[in-house]
């Protein structure tokens, strides 16, 4: 990922009239990776971030707020810091752009040690988006976005083009929103502009501090989807702080679960954390919902659908009686003329309704399609009083039934498979690590000899 040749990042940049002006500068900077600055500023794809024993000790407090964090964030990946409030996740994030000065340890971005560089210059290379957008209310949307490009000295025409491009990128019509003031925007729109401002000078690294914490759940969902789409285009290195574990699962390539003093409890993929939490703290944080959350990732089509005795509404009554009597179950499913689930019939129902199909049985309340998640299916099964739900095809026609037992068995199988995967994954990681250590030692030895 760090060496991706796709230097131009977004396709739009490549089309923009200013791309030509920016292009040579960028590629020049990219080759000059040893340079003191500029290399990080204009490298279009993400840069690695390495935190080494990063520590923050506030004067007068016995324990450090952040205690010796070691972390390696790959270029172009989204890493989520998640943890209880007060665990130091925000502090850790703010140390990366040195809004909070670390009292110990090093920070390297794209291999370059930035722990002692001018913080103002450093921050211009790092996008920063915060909760409630942090837009300046006395500036128009366009001026807000133009701030960082202006500070780093882009020519005017390039800035103007970039502002339009960024608005377009975050899904706001440039013509309409350009001249607006932040207070004329909805919360979601403000947040989009906030992200546009953070990305305006094309920083390789983007820090997001609970950016979607202050918007309503529906808008938050949209913004998360947008961020995923953006990231697919831009491949920035994103460090994202949240206390919402669901948000972490949705967005993260990897999740760092932090405990107090920002100690890393587990740093792994969402799947691995869900199915194989490292310890009680992590499983506590993942919550009792881990299995339920896992259900969101699997669809009805992936599990076994059982057959169920059915009759058509047009079938003679005698057939219905026969099926009810001979069947292994107490119930049969009555289908309407187009083969859609209509009613559940029990043995006694017909007798009570005096032989009339129109009056007998209970109407089918809910069905699920094969594309529904297992969570939806479970929901339907739970609300049904007999513990099963009919699965339907594209036009609503009956295809089978999922019941509680099937669901439980499938979930157990899934979790078991995940667990095996996770163990294998861990073995693999350990092997890689061992290999790396070995290689490092070899390399050192070679260097000493040479």
């Amino acid at each position: 990922m760090p060496e991706t040749p796709d230097i131009s990042g977004t396709p739009r940049t490549a089309q923009g009239s200013e791309a030509a002006a920016g292009g040579p500068g960028r590629s020049g900077a990219a080759t000059d990776s040893g340079g003191a600055d500029a290399s990080a500023a204009h490298g279009k794809t993400g840069a690695t971030i390495e935190l080494e024993n990063l520590t923050k000790q506030y004067p007068g407090s016995a324990a450090p707020a952040v205690d010796s964090v070691n972390m390696e964030i790959k270029a172009g990946e989204i890493v989520i810091f998640v943890g209880p409030s007060g665990c130091g996740k925000s502090t850790t994030l703010k140390m990366i752009n040195r809004l909070i000065e670390p009292t110990g340890g090093r920070i390297r971005i794209a291999g370059e040690d930035v722990t002692d560089m001018d913080p103002v210059k450093l921050r211009r290379k790092i996008g920063y988006a915060i909760q409630a957008s942090g837009l300046f209310p006395h500036m128009t949307v366009a001026r807000n976005i133009a701030l960082v490009p202006k500070m780093v000295g882009w020519p005017k025409s390039k800035i103007a083009a970039r502002v339009e491009e960024m608005l377009d990128l975050v899904g706001l019509d440039p013509g309409e929103f350009h001249g607006r003031y932040p207070r004329q925007l909805s919360g979601g729109q403000q947040q989009r502009v906030g992200v546009a401002r953070a990305l305006a000078a094309d920083p390789p690294v983007l820090l997001m501090d609970e950016p979607f914490g202050a918007v309503d759940p529906i808008t938050r969902d949209h913004l998360q989807d947008e961020l995923i789409r953006l990231q697919r285009e831009l491949h920035k290195t994103i460090v994202f702080v949240t206390h919402d574990f669901d948000e972490a699962i949705k967005l993260g390539d990897r999740i760092a679960v932090l405990r107090e003093r920002s100690r890393i409890a587990q740093f792994d993929t969402p799947e691995a954390i869900l199915t194989n939490p490292a310890d009680d703290f992590v499983s506590g944080f993942v919550g009792a919902g881990a299995a339920l959350k896992r259900l969101n990732l699997t669809r009805v089509r992936d599990v076994e659908i059982t057959e169920y005795p059915t009759v058509k509404i047009d079938d003679p009554l005698q057939d219905v009686f026969d099926k009810l009597r001979s069947g292994s179950t107490n119930e049969i499913l009555l289908l309407d003329r187009r083969g859609r689930p209509y009613k559940w019939l029990r043995r006694g129902d017909l007798m009570r309704a005096k032989g009339s199909l129109a009056r007998a049985g209970t109407l089918v309340a809910d069905t699920v399609t094969r594309d529904a998640t297992l969570r939806d299916a479970l929901e339907a099964v739970l609300t049904d009083n007999t513990g099963r739900v009919a699965v339907t095809g594209r036009r609503g026609e009956y295809e089978g039934v999922v019941d509680m037992e099937t669901l439980m068995n499938s979930v157990h199988e899934l979790l078991e498979a995940d667990r095996l995967d996770a163990i294998e994954h861990q073995h693999h990681l350990e092997e890689v690590r061992a290999h790396q250590t070995h290689a490092d030692q070899e390399g050192d030895g070679g260097g000493a000899r040479a």
Binding site: R123, L135, M151, Y181
Partner: protein, 215 residues
């Protein structure tokens, strides 16, 4: 001679006095604004310094204006100098106080955001904090100006410029034909000037407060 006849017969003198009055207030306000905002900028970050600045300027305001000018005369003499010094000192308090309140009232997350996107301290102050604090500062300037309009009348006591001269002359010759007219002309003149200045501030507010933060 009724009041209007008096005004039309002495309008030359009245206009000169009114002009000098307005000019004195305006110039002192400029100095007080610059000083007041500078003091505000220098002290708002520290609880202690900010409170000291507010306390000092409000103590100055409690000195009776007549006494202040009287005390200044032996030091700087008669005429313009004591007027300017007194007016500037009196004008400081609202500006200093509103600068400090305004600058402290800027949403800390915005300052954090400004820092986070790489603005230097000076840029933050000039482009974020002062513009956002400008509406309360302008209100302070407006209040100061209204106050100085009245206080400037006392300047005539130290042979200073302005409409106060009309008032003092009238008071000195109470009982004579035009005494009351003189006092009235001076007072009304000050009121008219105050209203004109206020209108000017409304206009300045409209021109200088960005639409995004206008109430």
């Amino acid at each position: 001679m009724n009041f209007w006849e008096f005004v039309s017969s002495t309008h030359q003198q009245l206009l000169t006095d009114a002009y000098q009055h307005a000019s004195a207030v305006f110039q002192c306000m400029v100095v007080a604004t610059v000083l007041g905002v500078l003091i505000g900028v220098a002290t708002y970050r520290s609880e202690w310094a900010g409170n000291l600045a507010t306390l000092t300027t409000s103590t100055i305001l409690t000195i009776p204006s007549l006494a202040m000018i009287g005390l200044l005369i032996p030091v700087v003499g008669l005429g313009v100098p004591p007027t300017v010094i007194a007016l500037t000192l009196y004008g400081l308090l609202p500006v200093v106080r509103n600068s400090i309140v305004g600058l402290r009232g800027v949403d800390p997350t915005l300052v954090d955001a400004a820092k986070g996107i790489g603005m230097s301290r000076a840029a933050r102050l000039l482009r974020i904090e002062l513009p956002l604090a400008w509406p309360p500062i302008l209100t302070g300037i407006r209040v100061s100006t209204q106050m100085l309009m009245g206080i400037a009348a006392i300047a005539a006591y130290a042979s200073g410029p302005g409409l106060g001269n009309e008032i003092f002359r009238g008071i000195a010759s109470l009982g004579s034909a035009n005494a009351l007219n003189q006092v009235l002309a001076g007072t009304l003149g000050i009121i008219v000037l105050a209203l004109l200045f206020d209108a000017a501030y409304v206009l300045i507010g409209r021109l200088t407060i960005p639409r995004g933060i206008r109430a």
